[in-house]
Amino acid sequence: MNIVVAIKHIPSIADDLPVKGNNVDFDSVDFVLNEFDEQSIEQAVLVKEAVGGTVTVVGVDMIGELDAVLHLALAKGADKAVKITGDDPAADSHQQAKWLAEAIKGMSADMVFAGVQASNDLDGQIGPMIAAHLDMPYIGGVSSVEVSDHTATVNKEFAGGIGGKYSVSLPMVVGVQAASKPPRYAPISKVRQVAQTATIEKVSPSGDATSGLAFKKMAPPVVTGHAEMIEGSSKDVAKKIVELLKSKGLA
């Protein structure tokens, strides 16, 4: 099994997100691994552990700090790491999908994993676009993957708690919502060991993509309302809550 995981390095939203011009002020934010990609890496490693093979993690180096993320992926069980030297923190999901697809083309992948979405674009398009570029089938919203005899059985989550089970002939692209187990913790001792010995393959970005989104304006949301804190004894508070619910026609 040749498994490839396409990851995204995105601005952290744990801190304030400063805006500069029509985009995020990329110089003032930390970049982190997309949360769904953590799930995606875990699912890929679980499949490898079940059926054997290799896991290659590939991502676009947006700000020259992707190595740390790739070392973490290697410490968690990935075998190879590749970075596409994009060096453009503003590259959107369309552009990244094209670069990633071009890099993955030569890897003869049986399965490509991608996080189902990321908190920057929120368009959930990386996976489907890579699939389109590579001419592979795509299933997103996946919460577990099993592989046997070159066929993958995946569970896809739908709204309302409904799940669907699909059998897919490989190769395919999977958009991971959640791995079948919580992502493992990679001890920093191990990550640091890996960082000293691992080699990361560098690939130049290739291929252009028309941008899916054109930014007209970006600004922090304007605060229009606020929460009302009800003071007083628990009886008074309960009374006021009942009045409020009645006044809004909810009770």
Partner: protein
């Protein structure tokens, strides 16, 4: 020439002379070597072969440690027992016992063979973690939080200094101050984020301000010391944080580094020198004890309380400070200081050290009660109204423990909060 005896034969004679020595009447004496061939040394060697684990093999089963081990007092544990378990088949790298030690150091204090659990436990834990063996999930979460957010609570870095706006006094950030200060105050993660920790941090700020101390904090640049994570086996995480912290400390000019927490004291004073950082580090109790003459006139309001003080393991046994906290408490007018049975060098551990802070649920499964509960009961038995502490791990631990043991009448307060009460009066 040594006497020879036949194997597997107990010699008990009415009248016996061996090498000219009359040993008649010693009916219980056995002249044969104790058969210990059913015990294998492999699992002891497995621990002793790990760098740092060597002294495990020193144990000669005297059991002095068992009398003082805080975990044995609420369970069935202790260095001697671990050695015995290893002899009879327990692989410490895979056993739950690996995660129960709080590195409180009371065993090492009494051990005639210097079996050093403070070295052994982190070393064996690191091997277990690296080999992907069992690690309590709640501990992994604390590791992950520290690696990702810079603190074990998983709180955002940008909120690290959010507490200062409600402190009631100005708390300068060294970056904004842009000048050298006398004291760089390392606040710590729990005083920065935990609601009860913030109470202590705010009290500290008001005390320093009242004393006119020239201090500043690192604000959003401050990150966890990760010493307890190191003792819990994540040395790599500790080193990552250490590199960051040393670089940050060295960015600014200051004369002394003051810490709110004993674990930070241990890290910066005893471990950081190995990483090239050798600067004066002081715990707030030691620091404030120097200012007793200036502090006493400020302590205007009487605090009519019977107070017992809990010695933090990492302030007392690990760093030898027993008197400064007591001097500060005794300086407060109205305070009657009473001692718990286990105090100073023999102080009982709260269970928070060595990563125990993040393994409460796990530890609870292997003990009859939490260590903090045992200690809260001991505090209550003195008749004290207040359990005074000097470690940011302890306020939340003991506040829970007094409740769960039915001792709500005992207030758990940091010494900083008590001093602040005396300066400002009940608020």
């Amino acid at each position: 020439m040594a006497p020879k005896f036949e194997k597997v034969k107990v010699v008990e004679k009415e009248h016996a002379v061996v090498d000219g020595v009359d040993i008649s009447g010693h009916w219980n004496r056995m002249f044969e070597q104790r058969v210990i061939t059913e015990y294998t040394p492999e699992l002891i060697e497995k621990v002793a072969d790990i760098p740092g684990g060597e002294s495990f093999a020193n144990c000669y089963q005297c059991a002095k440690c068992i009398a003082v081990c805080p975990v044995d007092i609420v369970g069935n544990y202790g260095p001697r027992k671990l050695y015995r378990y290893a002899q009879t088949g327990m692989d410490l790298t895979e056993a739950p016992e690996l995660w129960l030690c709080t590195t409180c150091k009371n065993c090492l204090r009494v051990c005639p063979k210097e079996v050093d659990m403070i070295q052994i436990m982190p070393a064996v834990r690191e091997q277990a973690i690296l080999a992907g063996k069992f690690v309590p999930a709640e501990l992994q979460q604390a590791f992950e939080n520290t690696a990702k957010s810079g603190n074990p609570l998983g709180q955002p870095q940008r909120k690290r200094d959010a507490w200062i706006k409600d402190a009631g006094v100005e708390v300068p950030i060294i970056k904004d101050l842009a000048r050298p200060v006398d004291v760089l105050w390392y606040v710590g993660s729990y005083p920065s984020y935990h609601p009860r920790g913030i109470d202590a941090a705010s009290a500290a700020a008001r005390i320093f301000s009242a004393l006119g101390i020239d201090f500043a904090i690192l604000g959003k640049e401050e990150k966890d010391d990760a010493d307890s994570q190191r003792l819990a086996g994540e040395k790599g995480l500790f080193e990552m944080m250490t590199e960051y912290n040393i670089e940050t400390f060295n960015k600014y000019e200051w004369k002394e580094l003051m810490v709110t927490g004993p674990h930070e004291l241990n890290a910066f004073k005893n471990v950081y020198p190995k990483y090239g950082f050798e600067r004066p580090v002081v715990h707030y109790t030691t620091f404030l004890a120097r200012y007793l003459d200036q502090l006493k006139p400020l302590l205007k309001h009487r605090v009519e309380k019977k107070i017992t003080y809990h010695d933090p393991c990492y302030l007392g046994r690990h760093n030898g400070e027993y008197e400064a906290p007591r001097k500060l408490l005794e300086a407060i007018p109205g305070v009657e200081l009473v001692e718990m049975q286990r105090n100073r060098e023999n102080g009982y551990c709260c269970g928070g050290g060595g990563g125990g802070m993040w393994m409460d649920s796990f530890t609870a499964k292997h003990t009859t009660m939490r260590l903090s509960e045992k200690r809260a009961m001991e505090a209550a038995s003195t008749g004290a109204d207040v359990l005074a502490v000097a470690c940011p791990f302890e306020v939340s631990r003991f506040a829970d423990a007094v409740k769960s043991t039915g001792n709500e009448h005992v207030d758990v307060l940091d010494i900083l909060e008590l001093l602040d009460k005396s300066i400002r009066g009940e608020q």
